[in-house]
Amino acid sequence: MIKITELEKFYRTEEVETIALNKLSMHVDTGEFVAIMGPSGCGKSTLLNILGMLDDPDEGSYVFNGIEVAHFNERKRADLRKHNIGFVFQSFNLIDELTVFENVELPLIYTGVSASERVKRVEEVLDKMQIMHRRNHYPQQLSGGQQQRVAIARAVVNKPKLILADEPTGNLDSSNGNDVMELLTDLNEQGTTIIMVTHSEHDARYSHRIIRLLDGQTVMENIMV
């Protein structure tokens, strides 16, 4: 599904140039659950952003589902992204002004799904995430675990082929964290490819494969059994 070759990304300020990704190559197959690990500043978030088409690489190739996207413009990337990729963040990033239902509904609005279809799909996914009873609450009224479940619901409501999770349990206690990991595992078993950035060895154990980064390069790959 994903094949990146010799990907490079630099960050420049006036005086220093930082290399975030240094000729990184990797691939992820459809249906895989991959964890990316590494210390702060190793480039894992940069990688995730490029994979998520939120950012573009300076050099190298990124083929998504057989399409070269490295040099897509923002509009094309956005279009590809909204139909194929769901995001889960450490800090949930729910929109405070929208209710649970409305937050989950948002991606469907932007992909132009009809209103009746939206209600059906949102209710379906809220039910699956077991937060149906909270549908009219605002994010601040929920616990962290509940918020993350809403965020996951939002990420999957469009039935994306790929979910990118950036430390999804980072702001949760261990019990809520485990719940979230179970959810992701379930999604993966139903066929969704998942790439997750994490600091936690515990969480990484849920994945099929761990890619370890240091200074923008792959230093090790562990296949989980």
């Binding site: 950012d55 139909h83 963040f89 929109i95 509904e105 991606p107």
Partner: protein
Amino acid sequence: MIRNYLKTAWRNLIKNKFYSIINISGLTLGLAVGILILLWVQDELSFDSFHKKGADIYRVEIFGGTGASRQIWTVDVAPIGPLAKQQLPEVKDQVRITGNYIFSLYKYQDKTFGDERVVFADPSLFSIFDFPVVQGNTAKPFTDDNSVVITRKTAKKFFGDENPIGKVIRADGKVNFTVSGVINDFPKNSRMDYDMIMPMSYHVKDALANNVDVNSNFSNFGYETYFLLKPGTSLKSLSAKLFNIHIAHKADDTDVEYLLQPLAQMHLYNADGTNKGMETVRIFIIIALVILVIACINYVNLSTARSMLRAKEISMRKILGAAKAHLFIQFIIETALLFSLATVLALGLIKIVIPVFNQVANKQLVFDLTNLHVWYIILLTILGTLAASSIYPALMLSSFEPLKALKGKISAKIGDVMFRKILVVTQFSFSVLLIVGTLVITSQLNFIRSKQLGYDKSHTLAFWMRDMGKHYDAVRNELLKQPGVLSVTRSSSNVIDNGSISGNNDWDGKAQGQTFIVHPLAIDKDFIGAFKMQMVQGAGFTGAVADSAHFILNETAVKEAGIKNPIGKRFKMWNTDGTIIGVVKDFHYASMKEKIAPSVFYYFTNNLSTIYIKTTGKDAQKAIRAAGEQFKQYNGEYPFSYYFLDDTFNSLYKGEQQQGVLFNYFAGIAIFISCLGLLGLAAYTAQVRTREIGIRKVLGSSVSGVIGLLATDFIKLVLIAILIASPVAWYMMNNWLQGFAYKINISWTVFILAGTISILIAFITISFQAVKAALANPVKSLRSE
């Protein structure tokens, strides 16, 4: 999707009450005042614009006199209209209107009225202008010389609900006029506004009885004449032709120049193209725009500033698939929602304040939402401001880079801060401008009010004596016995705003062809003393028979005529060849907008029809009562009406006073709106710098230090605004002062004062937030990061 946008917008509004209130109240005030001013402007511009043939109607005016006394008269001689119509094919029709100096009392059965505005006019008045005859014969509005056309209101007043046609109104108890037509009341935006219109033919007949042939009199400039011209007529050649007609009948009027003033321009321009009210209209348009711009700046400033705090929402929307256009539309809708709220409130506010505004502005504006013109103004204003305040923030917000925004890396970008600073400077420049304007206008108006006029007009009541004039001496003796009456005197017309002019004069050494226009005033022998005027040379009238050939000139008349050692010199006015016996010190008999012009006192007791009764002020009411009794005794049922000279004097500046008051209000509102914006920005700054303030406090900064830190940035901007605005303000106000012949100098202290005021206002505004931020517990503020 739009529902979703509206929902988010509404919740955002509710969540950030403080900013919402600032934004909405600023916009509401701005829109209300902006719309109100533009309604005023629209009304001013609409004067006399409702006549279908308006584009081809012109008023015939005269540029008369030579040298310093040359001026425009809006009246001309009676024969010119009919002659022009006869001889010039381009003049399709003409109408003459002249004031009524014949009658003053109108009676129907037991009802008597005396305050009607009555004119004599040619019947073409009703065909040239759109004053349609609604009852009576349109083709022949006047059935004979003794018919009268009245307005609906007048008809109601005289006859109630009875049919007015054929009813007889008796004028001054001797002449009957039969109502032959009724017209609608004159529109409020008509320069012409009368109650009764009598036929010009009656006036002509009446004059003939006094041996004056109106239709061949080229000396009496007392008729307003309007022409209906063929489209495309050359005004220049027409005015030359009119001159030729005039000169053919009166060869010595070589200085007369005919001007044609387009009907629609009568209200705001003089016939020579100089402005009469247009300058005020322009100033008000500018003020309306300034106030709207200030309100927009508030909105732009606050929404761009606060957009940093919305970065997360925007980024998430982008990540979830929102295109730039989605976000752009979302923010436009958000602004539109806020504007809709502000609009509703503004319309309500206008409804509430319009009576007050009408009173201050001396207008009769009706805020009628069923009127299409009102909607033009409203829509124009709102769409304009909406566009001005939504596009930039929407562009800026929708172009956020989602990742950076999400990570909080979009802190105040340099460019944006600069942009906001420029906006604040703009806002305060306007404020300083308005403050300077207010100060200058106020001090000029004070200057006029307190300037020594050269005579004492205080507590003096005056009125036209009518038949009482024949018994003046007895009345005077009676009045002087009254407590509170200090002196009694009389003159030919009102000493304030003496409108009579004459060019019929001569003296030894007068240049050939020179027309010297003077303001003649017949006065009684005790007039100069009663008004405490000062004689510079010679003596006043004594009441001796010889005084009828004596003249007293004012200083200006002596100077402009160029008469050396005037006492005893020959001076001729009209048919009286006499001598100058005195020179009176210049006094202001007209508005301070005009220079003191040549004035001549003469002694002719038959003309002394205006009485002045100087009272102590305290007993003025008693004096009025006594004067009223005397008036009644000799004038029977004629109503007694009087005026105080102080009021007449004030009415000369009514326009300026109104403008001054309005200007003060508008300036106040503009400054208030600016401060709202500043308050919002200060609050935002304090919010954004919470961490910095916390750290500074931990490191030992004092409360006043923190306040200083927050205030300094803004005060710097206000200082820049003062520097920018001061020269502009000086230029504009200096221009305004040019309209006055007697004016103050704008001193530099005005700018110091305006600067101090604006800094003070800004500082007070910022202090609220600064103090709040400074007093906050640093532990809390640091934890919030």
